[in-house]
Structures are given as structure tokens and as C-alpha cells.
Amino acid sequence: MTKSELIDRLTLKYQDLPPTVVEASVKDILEQMVQSLAHGKRIEIRGFGSFSLHYRAPRIGRNPKTGEKVELDAKYVPHFKAGKELRERVDNFS
């Protein structure tokens, strides 16, 4: 499922709302989530999971084309941990 398919599904379900509002809502939810982590604030969605920042230490990388050394600064990367309900529903297959 892509973002536009997610928008289509929710548009069908919320026929009392203008489709443009449903589309904007989906984009705004994602944008607020990115902004939250960008401000160092974790995200906790009960039944779905949590997003937090994981630290990556500075390191010397290499340009794969030239083999040249590149200093890479310390950084943070987004990390997702699935919540209990999502974990159980996804594992429920045979």
C-alpha cells in the first residue's frame, strides 16, 4: 500500500469529509510525526508502536567510487519499535 492508496481508503471511509481534507490530513499526520522527531520528541502510538532517535557515533567512511576517506559526523537516525498489538497481528499467520 502506498500513501495515495492509504488516502483512497480513508476517503472512502470518511465520505462526509471533502477528499482534499482527508488527503491533507494524511500528509499532515506524517509531517507532524517527522517534525516531532526532528525536534527530538519521541512518538508513542498505542497499539501501533513508537518512534525514537538512535545515536550513530562519528566514523570515517569511504567514497565507494574513489576509495577516498570521508569524515562522517555523529548523527541520529529514526528507529521504530512495533507495539504489542501490531506485533501480535503480524505474527499471526501459518
Partner: protein
């Protein structure tokens, strides 16, 4: 304080004038649609944000750390999230709270 569903619903109410009941269920359904697609075994690709993917892990030997007893860890299916380039570049210089 972490970002929660309540805060997302409040944003939809303030920004789009969606009534509080609809805003609350729309946020809930946003996550429920993603869960049900993953539950059905498909991946979810949200451009600008990232992809939720499924990985099947085969059975492996495990151990009860308290008793030292050998217990196999059963085969299972798990969700992984791969953040997109845009998401990664926007958080790399963040300062985590607390």
C-alpha cells in the same frame, strides 16, 4: 512528553476544522489501515516518510536466561521500518529530549 494520537487529532481539528470525534477516529483509522495491510502480509510505502516491511525469521535456538534451559525460539514474522532519505536527513541533527 511524546507525540500521541490525541495530539495528532487535535492538530486535525485545529488545522482542518474536522470535528473532534472524526479527528479522533481518522487518526485511529490511519494507523489501523497500516496495521491491517501489514497483517495481510503486504508492505506499506509512505513516500517522504518510510517503508514498513515484513521479515520472516526462521526458528533459532534460544535459552531461558534465568534457568539456562534450552528453548527454541519459534519462527515468526516481524515488522521493520526503513525511514526514507527525507526523514533521515531531517532528524540527523536533532537533540533528543530528556
Amino acid at each position: 512528553m511524546a507525540l500521541t494520537k490525541a495530539e495528532l487529532a487535535e492538530m486535525l481539528f485545529e488545522k482542518h476544522g474536522i470535528n473532534k470525534q472524526d479527528a479522533k477516529t481518522l487518526v485511529e483509522d490511519f494507523f489501523e489501515e497500516i496495521r491491517s495491510v501489514l497483517e495481510a502480509g503486504d508492505q506499506v510505502k509512505l513516500s517522504g516518510f518510510g517503508n514498513f516491511e515484513l521479515r520472516t525469521k526462521s526458528q533459532r535456538p534460544g535459552r531461558n536466561p534465568k534457568t539456562g534451559e534450552d528453548i527454541p525460539i519459534k519462527a515468526r514474522r516481524v515488522v521493520t521500518f526503513k525511514p526514507g532519505q527525507k526523514f533521515k536527513s531531517r532528524v540527523e541533527n536533532a537533540k533528543p529530549e530528556d
